[in-house]
Symmetry: C2
Subunit: 351 residues, 2 copies
């Protein structure tokens, strides 16, 4: 018997599989045309199913952020994983070593302390590939200057158990030009020092659509697979490209202008990303104005009988990645038909 | 062998069990002294273990927000559950009926549509207890006037399968006086109509400490068990009462004033609740200034060698309830000893 949306309780995550396929294909076509490699970040979907599709379409590997995610995807048969994170402490280094023994793995470092930890844990028979993380303006992790990047690369090269894998950055949205010029300067310095840089890898979805070549050989977008309200805001997608929606039910009509849905911060997160409201009601201009854990409050500009209690609506969330982290499962849909329901394999893998 | 904090990977949730016991006892003593009943909201801990402690100390039952939570706690042997939510739609009404057959259950309604749904699903042999939800200023769900509450109570009373259970509100923080006067007016109206109001139940942790009696016979605090930075801000707890912390590791020292921890929005949530920063670094005045999913960025007022990469810190989150929803398990601690690790039984039960 065909399963439809009526058979699913709310709140629920719906994934429009045709939109996903379109989003994946468009990004891969763009990468091929512009001449960079795609290494998608799985944080958005957390599903080996989609990672395999991304690889089949031409991705060179996947990006994961935490060891727990890497372990899930390695278990699912993914063989080339990049973890752009400083892996620190004896518990994680032990897990990292076990992982490095079974897949093609690369990680990052941005300090001598992190490199020392790697150097003490790995040996030449199964070396670890380490890229240097560079803060090109994002203000998060990363060495601050190309000279620091070079010094750290030398420390990596000097360790028998490590291989220098290149340079990595996560540019702030809108910081693509800054990242390019930073990396161009760094590459010149490495060239003068006679040190080859195998890979220069940059992040995020808005960035992949920025034109102009530049020094980045690889990009790690995540959100492009589903897209969300933020990607629409910054021009990286249209609303029609948003493949993930949260289906919710109207549970209350306290006033003629207010309605309340059964999706709150436990379904939509409280991420604002500089926008007004916590999500867009699909097919309208209305936003979720206020949230508590299990309620989303919407105010309409004028009195309206619509929507009645029991009405089902779909919300385009501000940020789809943390939404998939809140749900045990997601529903793949084509129109009103639920074609599959998948457990979110890497949900909650924070460590 | 004794398990210590060193045996736990980060980020991790730590629960100081002695502080929990102190918090529970203080609230129950206060309720007993002030003469109201305590029906704790389990959304904060999501653990049958603590629900049973709360009941043993004198709570009259528990509060849950979603059917999925109710089912978990009923399975764990809790027998008196209040779900202050409009349960809407055929899938949920079917589950509600099954639940009502095995525990003492009460729910709320704030519209004729919700009451009609209940009335059509329940019969006199196993009636459902329904309270009327009142918007006493919180601006979320609830009837807007005592007259509307009375009309809805009459609809409940007229249905053979329903029992009128009383009045419920969730006051906005600081709205306790408004809730009191609203309920006093409503009780007068119900009294004139000759309709008994078995229970008047109010919400939230700051409210339980408000003095002055008033019409509320029962309160449903949740956060008081663990407390958090918001409760400290509003004066409902001290920092020393905060039993839940997130243990994190410093993974990066990009500059002399900046450090980055391995706890981001996937560990701390992005709840701000009107405060600056996403959590307090315990034992300092520093806050987590910026978050991405797996990174928390802290800026120090002056250059400092502390903390080095690898240093473990504890964060007092802004809002502890959604934090427990992000972790598969929590660690009970006494000092540096981990006395137990429990799966968060009702984590992710959004529907």
């Amino acid at each position: 018997m065909t399963k439809t949306l009526d058979d699913i309780d709310t709140p629920a995550v719906l994934i429009d599989v045709d939109k996903v396929e379109r989003n994946l294909q468009r990004a891969q076509d763009h990468a091929d045309k512009e001449g960079f490699k795609l290494r998608p970040h799985i944080k958005t979907h957390k599903l080996p199913y989609w990672a395999k599709r991304q690889l089949a379409l031409g991705a060179v590997g996947i990006t994961v952020q935490k060891l727990g995610e890497a372990e899930v995807f390695a278990d699912a048969g993914i063989t080339d994983l990049f973890m752009p994170y400083n892996i620190v402490g004896p518990l994680k280094l032990k897990r990292l070593k076990a992982l490095n023994a079974r897949v093609t793995l690369s990680v990052t470092a941005d300090s001598p302390d992190t490199v020392s930890g790697y150097a003490a844990s790995f040996s030449a028979d199964q070396p670890l590939t380490v890229l240097v993380e560079c803060d090109t303006g994002g203000g998060r992790c990363g060495v601050q200057t190309p000279a620091q990047a070079l010094a750290l690369a030398r420390q990596i090269i000097a360790a028998p158990g490590l291989r220098f894998g290149g340079l990595m950055t996560y540019a702030a949205p809108g910081g693509f030009d800054g990242a390019n010029s930073w990396m161009t300067g760094a590459l010149q310095l490495f060239n003068e020092a006679g040190i080859a840089v195998p890979r220069v890898t940059g992040g995020n979805t808005p960035e992949i659509w920025a034109k102009g070549g530049g020094p980045l050989t690889e990009r790690r977008p995540g959100t492009y697979i589903y897209n969300d309200r933020y990607q629409v805001k910054v021009g990286a997608a249209t609303l029609d490209d948003c493949a993930l929606t949260v289906m919710a039910t109207v549970v209350s009509r306290p006033t003629a202008t207010r309605f309340v849905i059964d999706a709150g911060s436990k379904a939509l997160t409280s991420d604002l990303l500089g926008m007004e409201g916590y999500g867009l009601i699909a097919g309208t201009d209305l936003v979720v104005k206020a949230l508590s854990e299990e309620h989303g409050v919407v105010e309409m500009p004028a009195a309206s009988d619509w929507p009645r209690v029991g009405t089902r609506l779909r919300i385009v969330p501000n940020h789809c990645c943390p939404v998939t982290n809140l749900f045990d499962e997601v529903n793949f849909i084509k129109g009103e038909t639920v074609v599959d329901t998948l457990a979110v394999a890497a949900r909650g893998k924070v460590a």
